[in-house]
Amino acid sequence: MDKNYFEIKRAGINTTFQDKGRDNLYHIGIPFSGAMDNRNFLLANKLVDNKENLPVIEFAYQGPLIKFNGDKITIAITGDVIFKLIKKDKETYGKCYETYQLEDGDEIDILSTNKSVYGYLAISGEFDLKFQWGSCSINTKANIGSNNGNKLTDGQKINICKINSNQRNKKVNYLNSKIENIRVIKGTNFDYFSEKGKKNFFGKQFIVSKLSDRMGMRLEGPKIENIVNTNIKSEGLLKGVVQVPADGNPIIMLSDHGTIGGYPKIGVVASVDYDRLVQISPGTKIKFKEINLSDAETLFKLYEMETQNLISQI
């Protein structure tokens, strides 16, 4: 019987363990997975003084209600998240990007993400998890990863196998910025679409559909007319690829996407915008803006420098 553990009193909507994901497996049909919002994942680990790629709890919309049992532990929550700390004598709202100490019997109630999708909970230590192909990231569609590839469920117990001895309070000033304009590099089948279709894609508004998850983000808006062929010979996909099936509604591939697909690729979301793209909640209006490769590379470098700068402030 482990001494330190979390009891999941309410699992939340889509609560999983995630780390940096698993690479070099596309060729056998296994996607990258990993934390959807990489910057917030890294910040969560850094706040609790962990190595940057340790598994964390990722939640979407409504998070879990967790009871802690064991020795003192430090936690941090990142994202734009509303949560409460429930101690024996009092209940307080917590702040993201700050650490908190939990003692035996304390609870964290992650009520919801605020006009965003994903949030992260890191602990100063390590969850007792099974790794599969170098990662514990859970892909619920393919049942891959720790927890037998399933999301967390009510009543479940999560053992903590290691608690850092050195626990200090830390915080960082950070505000998640939102984007409405998603920068996109033209895809390999851009010319499959009519002039009007291309104009609609780069210019008109699209609404993020409720049918969006870790696999993909579906969009509704003006139909994008295909004038060549609504299918291509199946080929590889990547996160950020925007496919347009025969119905004319674009779908953006996200971290748990199928590895090959046969719909024309109209564009690919620039890497700089990926972390913020995944945080856009259903019902939000977005637009696509064209960007060339060299600008996308430069902007990603700046974004990465900003991430490293934030990490170094902790």
Binding site: H27, T188, E235, L238, S271
Partner: protein, 224 residues
């Protein structure tokens, strides 16, 4: 040979080998795939070979399109080089409980089931690629008169181990999954073993696959 290299977004190379789907072009893709994989090039984090394309994704924090393109362009692949392909035999039971779409195929192809199965079991298939779902092999080629389209309405759940046909290809559902292929049988063999850390997939691109017909008793006995 690679006809053209372009960028797919800012973190991947799109290597185009042509538009046709045939073994010759696919073999070229697989040769490049194997060669690049063995080289362990810094920054490359995924390779996705398909019928006539190879997508090379990389970590934009470490490298970029120009650098990887230069490396790929410098690779010379010996035209006559053979790749190490395995020959595999996959047992398949075509009992009525498994052959969910055989009647549909009888109607679409205008052959009786025994003829369809005879052609299927006499054929040596070539694995073009694996993917879509983990470990699913795309095996070709069925001759023209044996080709049928996907189901009009895909199944919500295709049982694990199902053997499906669509157009010139046969595939194996390595997991229970949604799907629209015409199901003719089921294999008791674990084509994808997710408990294996190394090489969880039995069939790799370039492998030759022959199916062997087994009856219900042999099917039940297969896994002890």
């Amino acid at each position: 040979m690679i006809k053209n290299i372009s960028n797919l977004g800012d973190a991947a190379l799109y290597c185009d080998f042509g538009t046709e789907v045939n073994k010759q072009i696919n073999s070229e893709v697989i040769k490049y795939f194997n060669n690049i994989r063995e080289k362990n090039i810094d920054g490359i984090n995924n390779l996705t070979p398909s019928y006539n394309k190879l997508i090379i994704s990389f970590d934009l924090k470490i490298t970029n399109f120009k650098k990887i393109k230069k490396i790929i362009e410098s690779i010379s692949i010996n035209e006559t080089q053979k790749f190490n392909n395995k020959k595999l035999e996959i047992p398949v039971c075509c009992d009525a409980t498994f052959s969910l779409d055989i009647e549909r195929l009888e109607k679409k192809l205008n052959f009786d089931r025994e003829h369809i199965l005879e052609v299927f079991f006499n054929k040596e298939f070539f694995c073009y690629m694996t993917g879509f779902i983990a470990g699913m092999p795309f095996l070709g080629d069925l001759e023209e008169k044996m080709r049928a389209q996907r189901l009009e309405t895909p199944r919500v759940k295709v049982p694990k181990g199902s053997i499906g046909l669509t157009e010139q290809f046969a595939n194996i559902y390595t997991f229970e999954s949604p799907g629209g292929w015409n199901i003719i049988g089921n294999t008791p063999l674990d084509v994808f073993d997710s408990t294996k850390e190394k090489e969880p997939n039995l069939i790799n691109p370039g492998d030759i696959v022959k199916f062997k017909r087994i009856n219900m008793e042999e099917y039940k006995d297969f896994n002890g």
